[in-house]
Symmetry: C2
Subunit: 409 residues, 2 copies
């Protein structure tokens, strides 16, 4: 059961002119699952992406980077679940390329106009034959209104599809933004989430779109964590079809650039937080805000130490205000000259610790009250500067263990 | 149920001349638990210690450092369970000092001849009155033969006491070594484990004993991890009473120094590994050996990334050879220029991955066979140098979640 998150209303998702999406059941790993999606992009569409920093990055990630660097306009995406095509060596690269060739052949495009994405089990050979056999049905299914189906088509251990839309005025024109994501486990994005796709009909210069993609990833997907495991396949793609009729956005810092960025960021944050709300076994949505640091980087160190501590996460699961575990995580986060007597700790509005010790006014029942909520904010004051940063995470429950002990069976 | 570890045979543990140990039930947190231990040390005994690097180090850790730095000979240790006296600010420091004063008063010693140790819940006030009231009974109980009782007296969520002995010839004399430890959770020592005490009757120069303590911690307690949570209270103490009659060991590098080091190391490693075997919810004992690194530090980065991955740990729990999760952890360990095509992966004798991809000869049933064992060695070759290092850890089971969701109740 995800935390305060339900399936999107398909009718409320905005189609993006210039983007058509088709889904089919290709039997990649199991029969009768929507496991193959294609995005067909009109001519003139700009595409930018950011990808995992895992050194064991998957074959499709390597091919995406190569195709984007080549400068050939991207006209199609192909996405399979059930198999990550990671840890597959040279053979995996060949299979990722063969997938692109199969789709490009059907569309009359060069192979490097296609970006491939895979998610699922690591170190198994990708069944290219079954994917290629499924492509004609996926192309035949392609419609602008298929965003909700696409959100379903990229799910793995997710329990609900994730999709959001927004609109903004950019240079006097209404532009639309729609995005989808998937997550659930192996989530500690380091550049982007497992899979996130965001499209707008705004017209954006290519260099600006890449800047937008990096800034968006940094402020959304790169601030969530479920289990600290950075995936081999993290990919976040921003698509701009240019069909809204606005003058091309030439700078992020212009009024138009900022209006577009805020609309994109709103959707990207909802998508990233949706991944946490639907984290494997999650029962609580936790915001960890660290302030008073010398720089944002040390605030993140502390926030991630808290977010990754199995002891803190199991205490949230149990609604147990065993809050000394949070202080312990602050202490081992890696700030070598941290002075414990400067530390303040709040749980929502409850002032738990002051000057590194228990706040004399803190009462266990106040901590208990907040711990029982499904949404909790942990606020840590480091007392050594003006910087701050925020990370979103979830608790660690029996279901996380069950899901990951049973994942392949 | 610990992994291949049973309670020590009290009769097989060697008493150490010059050390007497007494235990009592002081009701620190709950009634009818052996929760208070004292070590009484004869005059002439040398004591060295290493302590947690957690910046939220507990009050007793701060007092231990202060007393050891002062140079006053240490004549007694006082150890309580049920309360960690961490995250307790200035009041916690005062209570740790009051504990030392209470024991010193009963023994006719200065307060700084006592080292205090606490383990248990964080951010609760230490009940000094109950501890002081229990001290006379603990002193009355003191006997050289009480090592097994001491191992029991320092337990928290441990399921079996941990104690080992060894003997060595040092300068023509037989010296004895006996040690105890506790662990179970919040275990990722960074200088030492939660609590470890090692005593020998060898005569050792004070500076050499401190060197020995640091080297021993580095090669034993600092190489185990259960959940990645570095405790606020980690303390490892080495006691040398000098009663074996050997000439004082003046250098670690001498034949005598090495003979003593190896005997101490044997016991320290068994104690450290015993903590993993009895890790909270542990069902498997995992050795992670990383070789072919440029230096030992990068081998440790990789070993800890594997050891801390919740996905890898749940796969071990499930006996599921979902070994791509290990490659993913290698990839995000933090070696920025790691070349995935140089990576080799073995599970015991089974060659799972070669050149960064699945070994063509690898068969799932071979991986399955090893994963079902209670003791497993993961060997990773980085293919970029001659350095290596090893870390010991356990799996992540439902019981870890249960134990930590219920710890305070």
């Amino acid at each position: 059961m995800p935390v305060n998150l339900s399936a999107p209303d398909a009718a409320a998702l905005l189609p993006i002119a210039g983007v058509r999406i088709g889904i089919t059941e290709a039997g990649v790993r199991k029969a009768h699952r929507k496991d193959l999606s294609v995005f067909l992009l009109d001519e003139g569409t700009q595409v930018a992406g950011v990808f995992t920093q895992n050194r064991f990055c998957a074959a499709p990630v390597q091919v995406c980077r190569e195709h984007l660097a080549g400068g050939q306009p991207v006209r199609a995406l192909v996405i399979n679940t059930g198999n990550a095509n990671a840890g597959t060596g040279a053979d995996g690269l060949a299979r990722a390329r063969a997938t692109c060739e199969a789709l490009a052949g059907l569309l009359g495009l060069p192979a490097n106009a296609v970006l491939p994405f895979s998610t699922g089990v690591i170190m198994e050979p990708l069944p290219v034959d079954r994917i290629a056999a499924g492509l004609p049905a996926a192309i035949a299914d392609a419609q602008p209104a298929h965003w909700a189906r696409a959100a379903e088509g990229i799910m793995t251990t997710d329990t609900v599809p994730k999709a959001f839309s927004a609109q903004a005025m950019v240079g006097g024109k209404t532009v639309s933004v729609t995005g989808i994501s998937k997550g659930a486990g192996m989530i500690r994005p380091n550049m982007a989430t497992m899979l996130g796709f965001l499209a707008t009909d705004a017209a954006v210069a290519p260099a600006v779109l890449q800047q937008l993609a990096s800034q968006l990833a940094e402020a959304s997907f790169n601030r969530v964590t479920i289990d600290g495991d950075t995936s081999t396949n993290d990919s976040f793609v921003v698509i701009a079809t240019g069909r809204a009729g606005n003058a091309v956005v030439e700078s992020i810092d212009s009024d138009e650039g900022q209006a577009l960025y805020q609309a994109l960021l709103g959707v990207a944050r909802l998508l990233a937080q949706a991944i946490v709300r639907d984290g494997e076994g999650a029962t609580k949505f936790i915001t960890i805000a660290v302030e008073g640091g010398r720089d944002a980087a040390e605030c993140r160190l502390v926030a991630y130490a808290i977010a990754h501590s199995p002891l803190v996460k199991t205490a949230f699961f149990a609604s147990d205000p065993n809050l000394g575990r949070i202080l312990a995580a602050v202490g081992y986060a890696g700030i070598g000259d941290l002075d414990q007597t400067g530390i303040e700790l709040f749980l929502d509005d409850v002032h738990v610790a002051t000057k590194g010790g228990r706040n004399p006014d803190y009462r266990e029942e106040d901590g208990q009250r907040v711990m029982k909520q499904s949404e909790i904010t942990v606020r840590v004051g480091l007392g050594r500067g003006d910087a701050s940063d925020t990370v979103w995470t979830c608790d660690l429950s029996h279901d996380y263990v069950s899901i990951n002990a049973d994942y392949r069976s």
